[in-house]
Assembly symmetry: C2
Homo-oligomer: 155 residues x 2
DNA sequence: CCAAAATAGTTTGAATTTCAAACTATTTTA
DNA sequence: TAAAATAGTTTGAAATTCAAACTATTTTGG
């Protein structure tokens, strides 16, 4: 395909505008889809936290608060809520008893998988009609963004 | 380029994972970049609100609260803060005096342009090395996401 | 023309979320 | 083995959000 520099500029503007708005909508729709299922007591933020805790990692509270850039106090409060609602468990690490390892309950794992499946559906619809090389390009674009973010952060 | 279905599946997983995390980082970095400049009193949420109010539109409070899905009360509070800090002005609409039209002050416009420029930089770094047809594909992917979101919302 | 209904935005009071700082318990260091 | 460092919790205050009640204005229908 042939493109003038004006057309490319329009595309840049379009992409820039769309990106600003789309993510907000994604967060909202993920929350509202999850709340239509059996997981009616979960917010978008909690979904994000459940995702970060993950299925297998046994992360510590400190690791999670670093990744999500939440203060330790805030994370403690969030974990209390998710524990009360039965999605996560705290496990005292027996090698170092200051450390709490985090895990998902079976209910938490179900939620994790439901969320992941929905997200996956979104990505599939996004890449509908794309061939392998297109998808590689898409992947490259995300790697580029990550690199840009790293550069800006460390500067 | 040739790709096996396994490679494509890996790409899907990669893209899915990356998307979940990247936006949070973008929001954070936009806020922290803006705060390094003369606009030290602005949060990511306020940046989003300033962007929505826009340079030329004279939107009403109701329009903005609908777009951002904030209650009218919440928006009033946010607007009070931005007005106090000198970024926006409220203008009573003389045709219908119930309506408040919103506008950016010159300080608000400077902030808008600084934010947009940074966002634009991010998009450019993301699409570095892409040709016109690649960029069209990227644009199509975003249109697909928007369509997916609309379908899910209206179902 | 005017009373009732509708609309735009603000105020209010409660709930939730967040943070930093102080604190407790445990481990590491020197 | 006492002091320092680390992991996580508690605490109190500030910020954010919402729904519902409220004020001011405009539109509607008789």
């Amino acid at each position: 395909m042939n493109s003038t520099s004006d057309e490319i500029k329009d595309d840049y503007n379009f992409i820039s505008e769309a990106l600003i708005d789309i993510y907000d909508q994604i967060m909202r729709i993920e929350e509202s889809e999850i709340r239509k299922s059996r997981f009616k007591d979960i917010t978008a933020k909690e979904l994000h936290l459940i995702h970060t805790i993950g299925l297998h990692d046994r992360k510590t509270t400190s690791e999670v608060s670093r990744v999500l850039k939440l203060s330790k106090g805030t994370l403690t409060a969030n974990l209390n809520n998710l524990e009360k609602k039965g999605y996560i468990i705290r496990m005292i690490n027996q090698q170092d008893r200051r450390i709490i390892n985090l895990g998902l309950t079976s209910k938490g794992r179900l939620l994790y998988r439901a969320h992941y499946a929905f997200h996956r559906q979104l990505v599939e619809s996004c890449l509908k009609g794309f061939d392998g090389s297109d998808i590689r390009k898409m992947r490259q674009a995300l790697v580029n963004v990550e690199k840009f973010i790293d550069e800006v952060s460390s500067k």
